[in-house]
Symmetry: C2
Subunit: 417 residues, 2 copies
């Protein structure tokens, strides 16, 4: 993995939605370029172009709960703060809240998200209207969405817009009864599709599943045939060797969410062990109610730092591998096979990182600088599908930020009443 | 502590180096203002002015080692990477390297640092030339600096410039012999001065001291009379109850460095217990070779997050208390008594945070937004001692960033030969 990064000096061309040339500003390139009428030529000033980060687990619509109630015990927070506020949600609110999250993703160089929240339509609409790429995942539990609805969503949102796709999923084993889970497994078989869910985030969740079914969540869900076509788990903290073997055997992805796991005191996922087994690992911010920051730089630092800390080994989890997780690993987990790297014919999901900032100097090692010192402040440009949505602090997402902030404050004040 | 933050709408005036008015843009204020010829009036656009962060432990001159050798076991890193490169240092290099660190502090809203590195002169000169505030701390060990030199430094750098002060200190118990330590304790008594050192950063350090002297580092140093006039410890991870009692009794400060402690796998300082005892806590980034980022936002998140994680309690270490540590707690540890809060007659060490960014919305709770979601990208302005040194991404520090970057790359390339 660590060897998969190499840095090229030269030009990168984008036409429509794709990368069409990477290489030296050579004669051949100049010759080809003669036939193209360029909209814009950007001098990158020796800054770095790289594939956008993939936020492989989030709940964008939850921005309204950011810092609404921090520093509370987990269950109090959910029961008395999150659930009563969520009960007041309307789809049009989710649309605006998701847009706010997309803005933050752009500031952090994130070009795609894997989004689980109550209704798919406002999520899809917010992304398309902003020009952002989103993989929506089923959010079914005993109270929200049904197997039939999920099938309908699967067919609708996989043919909705080139920026949108949909994957089967449900909230978690502990919030979804056996009948519904069997329904999801049937869909997985019918569509030969992967399935995603929150998995082993807390000890009590694992314990509860063992009491109900005599198996860990991973083993139980696997016993239903849930992962015949792969899929993945969000969090994956309290995992047994057998659980990890199931992930490995089925080519499943672990999506780690270290910021949220720290803030909610959930624990540290055994990423180093998973990586050693060859399991694909992706990184997500989780939602803004629990993290609260939608910042891939923070997550990357934590993804390596918490391994070092828990294994008491400063050499654990190389920074290069973490950068791989945040880009290629994420794209793989999200089935975004054309958005993973900078290559000709790949989607133009590209960011420019400002290396002319004190935190990026000196340049001994660019990837380590990104993982260990990088910050949102280094994101000079975020392009999704060939369109620049964020550049030098300005957004081009079809909405004025100030108007969106104002609308959100007024919605939130209404909800608090 | 949590109650000590309150937010005022109105105006803040700075004259020369101090704050001269905070309050409503009232008639009285307007009347007073008539007699003043303002250099500049800034519309804060409903953004937040707050006291600058205090970086209470760092080694600024080590920027040259940032990402030179990450992801190595601790001792290999020190022996084969850090020490051989440090052997090639010259004072003029430390000057440039310190300036690079100062630039990064400014981008993170840090207005003062507590700096321990090889030679005081280039550190002091870099800070004065940039207009930055620095408390230099003695860096004595068996090979660098002597007790006599430290006394000379103490007298020199406490009368050098209003931006510079000097505190007694040494590298650590395990690198400094008893005779030298007794010398420092004598200076502490002579000058009625506090003393600072790295303390209980690793288990082996504590074990070594117990083997040498039958006491923990804190107890042993205290037995020499080292802390008669207070002082503090950097890191303070592996602390006994007795150690913490000594800190409490002597009014000493703990300076926590969670980013470095994570990356070097050192452990988690028991901040919640220390706080409960009423020990003053400050936050430092540690040096750029070990962290590698000089970013108070990352440190604040970790200061609370690691407590939550280690105590398995999402309610541990309230975000408001962490913001206090990063500002008032730091100023207290560094004896910067006029730089701690925004009040009339206090030093104008002020930052402006951009609340008109997606990660600061909605505004349920500004302090929690800063601690949990804040990033360098939110720092719109950093003022030290009444002068704006950083604003909207531009530096005013008497050096062109591009020239400094170039000089540093060339020094570093020379050193690597």
């Amino acid at each position: 993995m660590a060897d998969s990064f190499h840095i090229v000096e030269g030009e990168l061309w984008v036409e429509d939605h794709s990368i069409t040339y990477i290489g030296a500003a050579s004669k051949k390139a100049s010759h080809l370029a003669e036939h193209i009428v360029w909209d814009r030529e950007i001098d990158a000033c020796k800054n770095l172009l790289m594939p956008g980060f993939k936020n492989a687990h989030t709940h964008s619509g939850m921005t309204f709960l950011r810092s609404y109630a921090d520093d509370l015990p987990l269950l109090d927070w959910l029961k008395y703060q999150v659930f009563p506020m969520e009960a007041k949600l309307k789809p049009e609110y989710i649309y605006d809240f998701s847009k706010l999250a997309i803005m933050e993703y752009l500031t952090s160089g994130i070009t795609a998200n894997f989004d689980m929240y109550l209704s798919p339509e406002p999520i899809a609409k917010a992304s398309v209207d902003c020009g952002f790429r989103t993989v929506i995942v089923g959010a079914m539990n005993n109270f929200t969405q049904s197997v039939e609805e999920m099938e309908e969503y699967y067919n609708t949102y996989n043919h909705y817009h080139q920026l949108i796709s949909y994957q089967l999923g449900f909230h978690a084993e502990y919030t979804t009864n056996r009948e519904r889970l069997e329904g999801v497994a049937s869909l997985a078989k019918k569509y030969k599709a992967p399935v995603y869910t929150h998995n082993s985030e807390s000890k009590s969740e694992v314990q509860g599943c063992i009491e109900r079914y005599g198996m860990t969540p991973t083993a139980f869900l696997n016993s239903l045939g849930m992962f015949e076509y792969g899929g993945g788990g969000y969090h994956c903290i309290h995992m047994t060797d057998e659980d990890m073997n199931i992930f490995k055997e089925h080519g499943m992805s672990v999506v780690t969410n270290p910021g949220s796991n720290v803030k909610l005191a959930s624990g540290i996922a055994p990423l180093a062990a998973m990586q050693q087994m060859g399991i694909n690992i992706a990184i997500g911010t989780d939602g803004p109610a629990s993290n609260n920051c939608l910042d891939m730089f923070r997550e990357m630092f934590l993804a390596t730092g918490l391994q070092k800390l828990s294994l008491m080994d400063a050499s654990a989890m190389d920074g290069n591998d973490v950068l791989y997780m945040a880009t290629v690993g994420g794209a793989k987990a999200m089935c975004l096979n054309t958005c993973d790297t900078l290559e000709v014919d790949k989607a133009a999901d590209i960011i420019m990182l400002d290396l002319n900032q004190p935190n990026m100097r000196p340049i001994h090692n660019i990837t380590k600088n990104i993982v260990y010192s990088g910050s949102k402040q280094n994101v000079k440009m975020t392009m999704v599908n060939g369109k620049i949505l964020y550049e030098d602090g300005k957004f081009d997402i079809g909405t004025e930020p100030a108007a969106l902030y104002e609308r959100i404050e007024s919605i939130v004040n209404e909800m608090k009443k």
